[in-house]
């Protein structure tokens, strides 16, 4: 894993939580949250997740945060790009629900 090539920004609390969620959901037992920098791509060259992993993550997000992704949501791919984009998505959904 070439985490060192990515900007090693510190996690926010939500990002930390989401990185852990990714690890727990996908049984990435040999990793810790610190091994998944916020901006590292989760799919393809980054963490190497695939489309089925994305489905598992979507289910886990729904269970934990009660957020769902509409079928016509063309942004879904963008939301799942990295831990940082996931955090932004979760935060925006929570804000939307609070209103």
């Amino acid at each position: 894993m070439n985490a060192s090539t990515h900007t090693a920004l510190a996690h926010t609390a939500l990002e930390q939580e989401l990185a852990q969620l990714v690890i727990d959901t996908l049984n990435l037992e040999d990793l810790t949250a610190a091994d998944i920098p916020p901006r590292q791509p989760l799919f393809g060259d980054g963490l190497g997740l695939d489309s089925v992993d994305a489905l598992e993550l979507a289910l886990a997000l729904q269970k934990r945060y009660g957020i769902s992704i509409a079928s016509d949501d063309k942004d879904a791919r963008r939301h799942f790009a990295s831990v940082a984009s996931l955090a932004a998505f979760v935060a925006s959904q929570q804000a939307a629900c609070a209103n």
């Binding site: 996908l26 049984n27 990435l28 037992e29 089925v52 994305a54 489905l55 598992e56 979507a58 289910l59 729904q62 769902s68 992704i69 509409a70 079928s71 949501d73 879904a76």
Partner: protein
Amino acid sequence: MSEAQLATRQHWSAQRERGSLLLMRFTAFAARRCGRRLLSPLLHVIVLYFFLTGRRARRSIREFYEHLATSSGRAGLRPTPRRVFAQFMAFADCLLDRLDVWRGALRLEQVRLLDPDGLRAQLLASHRGGRGQLLVGTHLGNLDVCRALAELGEQVPLNVLVHTHHVAHLNRLLGEAGEQRMRLIQVSELDAALMLDLSQRLERGEWLAMAGDRVPLHDGRRATVDFLGRPAPFAQGPWLLAGLLGCPVNLMCCLKIAGRYEIRLERFLDAPAWERGQRDATIAGWAQRYADRLAQWCLLAPQQWFNFYPYWDASDA
């Protein structure tokens, strides 16, 4: 024609239901008016027409019997023209039964339930707050007796996941027959929204049903398994879904044995899950186990194998 085009053309979903909606309506009407016994000569003529014009269907049934005979070591199962014709007749009989099922003429008491794992009790329990489960059916026998199963569950909603455009036809017929409890959900590809929807349905105590023995055309997720001694592509979909949703998986099969329907229900997986990096291997293992069970069921009622299209890998001649 390219290989891909050929594969597309040979795929079961490309097979138009040859005039079947009109014909089924007519036959249903005739069956209601005249009774099935009187209809029998006419039915023979109709079936003979489909038999004579359906060269590919004939060939695929012959192939089925060849593999069945070889893999089981029962030479008596070798294909004969009479046996292949009987397959078409059995299918016509099945269609008439389906119509009976839809208009409620096939009563629950007429169906025998073989349920060694006590799944009916679990179906009933999901009515009182239990989580739903997955039922994997087959085109061996009469899938539509699922409908009777929904009745078994006394109003436990059953969502049937289907791949094709045939849905429109079936929904129309279901609607005309006043069927409400069963819902058809068209699944072309697994996406996040669909997964969430299915997951929520399970939480509400609804059950999901899908066929395990047909490969969707546009979904590359297949596992090649040994079926009746030959490599055949099987869908990964049901097993993928099971692992993602983490719900118990049951097999379901409804065969007409000596003129009476028998629904077989059995537990297949209690808590499907895969280890990291082992997903494909795990799913291939489940698909193989399913194919093995299906092969055993085929021997119970070979005449009710209703996959009338090339089933095995064409490359394995």
